[in-house]
């Protein structure tokens, strides 16, 4: 039950993040709410103008931030045996950024020949039936209008998956039916069939529209993608990934099939462990009961938090970094900028061999640690699409520049792996991993529904016993990443000390005492990110800096600041017995499973 409820939350959260929050970074919607305002806002120098198809936009230069393919008015496209021909880009206008549409280094001639394309003076392409997992065969459609339609449909699918999960726990994302001890509702078989039909709709949407769109956007905006950019995509980040693991296998005797776990225990859908880029190794934690963040006597192991860059004060003699069980908070605001302290977020780090290590969390971390990302099976969707530019004016192999005199530039989106694709970390890798994870959870949810239907007679709730004068923790995954709550209780079972170290705290963290920037900070600094989103320039016509690259990288992390900042009370006394197992501490995004 808990898997299904949290799974619904995962599925909902990922879809809404991409379509409602992130997609508008890359797609210029129609000139109306909710797709406007675009990246700029009207000013007295550039007031709103009436929209007339196909050329005028709500503000005269808003289109400059977006790739031509994903702007209103781009012509239609056709499916061929080579893939989806996005259509012809008419000669770029002055001010259009044409650098995005060039993929250097492709062997034009042999690729065209291998794809069965005949490049002659006309615009004829072979239109043999295409086998494609993405869209109906030989349908002409504009990729842009498809995206907008999917945006609207995604909101409805999201609502239905929320309702399905909420049916089991009294509502989502604020649930009422999950308590320590279980779920207060015993589902019926009609609940299961309702959930199942919504799940099917969600799965079809995700595999047929959501995942392909992440591939398409990654191919078009390839400077944000590691895979399509030979490893130098924006937003690479620290390269260390952390996952506490999620979705315990409800079966008493886990089977080795159906879960595909990389470790031998098959206890969870997503494994518990971390990846270090310095050693290119994934380290697994076998036993789910052990919190790798248990404090040692000297804070040399596990999770610690730094406050040197945060607006908190140290207690002399008990300075940070401290493990959450030992943590405290004394808010102490200094200034908005110009001081070493610049954030309300503390900086959690994982101590590895005595050294504080920056860790990124999130869907990419989970999918990478569990070795699902970029592994092909068991997904119905074939791996990455990539973009090739063909020009009809020349059969040259050299695609390092687009001749502006060319009147026909065909962008072909191929349904195949790019040669020498390097799975890695980048803004687009996060979006892709989030989409693939949504499908992974949806597939697992079908299994959970099956398992649930065989145990309907059993109670969903058992009365728990609450410990006193003890401490405990819960560590699990929330949609945005690894989540842990730490708790110390007094003699009456009341909370003496409570600390949340939530996904966005890991990601949004400021620099620690070793001057290591947090994951988002490192991602912004990765691969020499340059601000040139305004048709190749960093400043718009009003001389305002337009850091759309930074915004796109930040959005790829799906930050949630509500969860980032937490406060810990001063505790008077603690009696620490680590590993307390009966607590289920939950925030909106996380559920601890027993």
């Amino acid at each position: 039950m808990r898997n299904l409820i949290l799974g619904a939350e995962f599925m909902m959260s990922h879809m809404v993040h991409f379509y409602a929050l992130a997609a508008l970074d890359y797609v210029m919607g129609p000139p109306m709410a909710p797709w406007t305002p675009y990246f700029d806002a009207p000013t007295s120098a550039e007031p709103l103008v009436a929209y007339t198809y196909p050329d005028t936009y709500q503000s005269p230069n808003a289109h400059r931030y977006y790739h031509p393919v994903l702007r209103p008015g781009f012509p239609t496209s056709t499916y061929t045996s080579a893939g989806l021909v996005i259509g012809q880009l008419i000669q770029p206008s002055a001010g259009d950024d044409t650098t995005n549409i060039v993929i250097p280094g492709y062997d034009f001639a042999s690729a065209a020949s291998a794809a069965g394309l005949t490049i002659d003076g006309s615009s004829n392409y072979s239109s043999a039936a295409a086998t494609n997992p993405v869209e109906e065969v030989n349908q002409q459609w504009s990729i842009w209008s498809r995206v907008i339609k999917d945006y609207v449909d995604a909101l409805q699918v999201r609502r239905r998956i929320l309702e399905a999960g909420g049916m089991l726990c009294g509502g989502l994302p604020m649930f009422r039916g999950l308590v320590a001890g279980g779920v207060t509702y015993n589902p019926t078989s009609s609940d299961i069939s309702t959930f199942s039909s919504v799940l099917q709709e969600y799965t079809e949407f995700t595999s047929g529209r959501y995942i392909p769109l992440t591939e398409i956007v990654a191919a078009i905006y390839n400077e944000y993608d590691n895979t399509n950019n030979y490893g130098s995509g924006y937003g690479a980040g620290c390269g260390n990934l952390l996952a506490w693991g999620a979705f315990n296998n409800p079966c008493a005797t886990p089977s080795t099939t159906g879960w595909g776990m990389p470790n031998s225990l098959n206890k969870r859908l997503f494994a518990r462990g971390y990846y270090l880029s310095s050693t290119n190794t994934i380290y697994y934690q076998d036993d789910g009961k052990v919190d790798p963040g248990i404090s040692g006597t000297s804070n040399t192991a596990g999770v610690v938090e730094y406050i040197n860059s945060s607006w908190y004060a140290d207690v002399p003699g008990a300075e940070h970094p401290r493990h959450p069980f030992d943590g405290y908070t004394d808010p102490s605001y200094t200034s908005y900028s110009g001081s070493p302290k610049y954030s309300w977020a503390k900086a959690p780090r994982l101590m590895i061999n005595g050294s504080p290590t920056v860790m990124e969390v999130g869907p990419l971390a989970r999918m990478w640690v569990s070795q699902y990302y970029n592994s092909g099976a068991p997904y119905a969707h074939t791996p990455h699409a990539y973009l090739k530019a063909y020009t009809l004016t020349s059969a040259s192999n050299d695609l390092t520049s687009v001749p502006l005199a060319a009147t026909h530039i065909y962008l072909v989106l191929h349904n195949q792996d790019k040669p020498s694709a390097t799975p890695g970390f980048s803004a687009m890798d996060r979006h892709r991993a989030r989409a693939q994870e949504a499908l992974k959870v949806a597939s697992a949810a079908a299994i959970w529904l099956d398992q649930l239907s065989s145990v309907l007679a059993q109670p969903a709730y058992t009365t728990p016993t609450f410990g006193t004068s003890t401490s405990g923790f819960g560590s699990h995954e929330a949609p945005r990443g690894a989540l842990a709550h730490y708790l110390v209780t007094d003699a009456g079972g009341n909370i003496q000390n409570y600390q949340c170290v939530v996904p966005s705290t890991w990601n949004d963290s400021p620099a620690d005492a070793a001057s290591q920037p947090g994951p988002i900070e490192q991602a912004i600094l990765s691969n020499n990110l340059k601000i040139k989103g305004y048709a190749g320039k960093a400043f718009d016509d009003q001389n305002r800096l337009v850091p759309v690259e930074v915004l796109r990288v930040v959005h790829s992390f799906d930050p949630c600041i509500a969860c980032t900042v937490h406060v810990v009370t001063k505790k008077e006394k603690e009696d620490r017995e680590c590993g307390g197992s009966k607590r289920g501490k939950v925030c909106r995004e996380g559920v601890k499973l027993r």
Partner: protein, 61 residues
Amino acid sequence: MATYHLDPVNRIEGHLGVELTVDDGTSAVTDVRVKSMMYRGFENILYKRHQKEAITIVQRI
């Protein structure tokens, strides 16, 4: 080198600001500070409450 503030960041949950130091010539970002601008004190609410209430309160984060 100039410093710019991208604050608030839109289309996220919560309040986030980004302080950028941008090189004038290349427009490359040379330094960045990601600032969480929200502070609420959830654990203060939880202090002295029985632990079974935590799940109901904390989910409202």
